[in-house]
Point group: C2
Chain length 342, copies 2
Amino acid sequence: MQTRKSRASFTGRVTMADVAKEVGVSAITVSRAFRAPGKVSPELHSRIVEVSRRLGYVPSRAASALASARSMTILALIPSLTNNVFVDVLVGIKEVLDAADYQMLIAITGYDQPDAEERMLRAHLGYVPDGILLTGVDQSEAVRTMIDGQGLPTVHMMDHSDREDLWWVGYSNAEAGRAVARYLLGRGRRRIGIIASQLDPRSLRRCEGCREVLAEAGLYDPGLDLRVPDHSSIPLGAELVERLLNQAPDCDAVFVCNDDLAQGAVFQCSQRGVAVPDRLAVVGFHDLNASAWASTPLTTVRTPRYQIGREATRLLLARIEGTPTSARRIDLGFSLVRRASG
Amino acid sequence: MQTRKSRASFTGRVTMADVAKEVGVSAITVSRAFRAPGKVSPELHSRIVEVSRRLGYVPSRAASALASARSMTILALIPSLTNNVFVDVLVGIKEVLDAADYQMLIAITGYDQPDAEERMLRAHLGYVPDGILLTGVDQSEAVRTMIDGQGLPTVHMMDHSDREDLWWVGYSNAEAGRAVARYLLGRGRRRIGIIASQLDPRSLRRCEGCREVLAEAGLYDPGLDLRVPDHSSIPLGAELVERLLNQAPDCDAVFVCNDDLAQGAVFQCSQRGVAVPDRLAVVGFHDLNASAWASTPLTTVRTPRYQIGREATRLLLARIEGTPTSARRIDLGFSLVRRASG
DNA sequence: ACACGATATGTCACCGCTAACATGCGCGCC
DNA sequence: GGCGCGCATGTTAGCGGTGACATATCGTGT
């Protein structure tokens, strides 16, 4: 008892019991005052609020999660923050969570190690999230097992899947790749290249969509298909377009699977004196903020990242709370934004 | 009892007790096997690890935090993710935390409401973090009280303070502003403007540093000092430089307090036919990735954001664990990067 | 006047884990 | 051969909340 007392005072935290004693009620009444104000008389409620504020009481989520098996926290697994793409998604997620009084836990998995997603998940599952938002639909078996084992609801984001058991909000990367290929073909381009980096499943699906349409038209040339595993960045885009133009000088268009790469590619073309789009049309992907504001504004595919964050979170919260939803798979589509580069 | 049982099985989680029963030991042994492997016999340890894996056991951080008053979690309060500035800081933080087996909780405070930091802090304190990383050194009284009340160690990032009681890792925004002013004066500029947005304390300190030096030189003109509260962005930078040039056509240089604004400013100048730097020199701040890769690469101040994240986290962990540190205030400085725009 | 339901508050046990303090056991040593 | 000691493991009592159920209080209809 005495030991405990000192341990508690060591942490220095004000607890619900402290508030209860000060007000002269039992702890459960304080608990109710916060979670169900209607069940506590108005005078008591205001006194409890006042005392809590005065004492600096902050409810312990750890204790609450333990006792109620609800943490009011959702976990978002994101490949990277460096890539602005996911920042937009997070903004959408956060808005919906804030409104519902949930907290967001962000886990960054990175693109490099194949088991990173599993490790990050294991580390963060300890926080007992009430649900999980996943990026993409290509989780490893280990990840699926772990999530199912915990019985946690999940929603996938940023891609498209035919699987009946998945809840997702996104768009079809494959279809987007096809759309770009058709667009470039429609504009009379015949020697169309593909540049991609990072090679996550979504980028690859875009590449494949593009390749598919080019192949159908008999115009796919593996010599114009440049895919490297490095992280995508502006300088890498510059380097890759340089390489492409050197090995295939007659290339007249290129689908660059990420806008930062595409920005670098356009930059490099202007350095090198390659006219964009006349000599080489460049189409990017994602429509990042900066893409409209380059000396040659980028033709690109706009993805509804903010909306994906919002809708995926709405769906997840509905699942958690058992509210019926109109759909469990939401395709928010994409749109090709035509600007100067292609 | 029965009720409880069903509640537990409702959550479906595998607990330490489940593992213990399966192995045939008591829960505390399982606990020790994870936290202090040396205190458990090798055979038992490997059996416990094996069974845990097989059952899919994930320790509950909530329970652990409650029982041990240590959460192995640190909280980072960041104004915004949209601004790439802090993403770099987070990458640094995360690297150090990963190595030390700590988890990172990110709270995004936003720039808009003055009490947002307080509210976000309150919401996240419930996770019982072991320490806090704060952005800037200008926290409100309420925030300080709350943190002190919990007895939590903190380290401030991204600014500089003379206060003896603060631990911080950063650079002097005021000094950086002065350096820019001196640089532009040294290059013969006389009608020097200032453009800033967002108006967080750090931007303002940069502005003030710049103004100070200009005033000393007798060259400060409030008519060239444009500060707006809106979020910083490329289009806003374009708009502001337009406004500046309209109201003061003889302006020959401008310190733009954020690189994204500066990128927009340079873009707008090229649209408008204003020669950069001949007619108008533009100096940005932060040296974002894209700034080197514009048609007119940006002269800007490079801030060591990644290192700030790393060092601040090292310092915080040392404080938490009681390791002695060589310094409690680390000025990592900044450097003016000269490129084409100024 | 009294049973009855609605409302306000309390009691108790327990969520999953760990600090502190046992306990049991084998070993070396005088 | 008894003693003390170190090591491996167990017992107990919480950490700070909340669910389920109990109890007290009050107004209402008959």
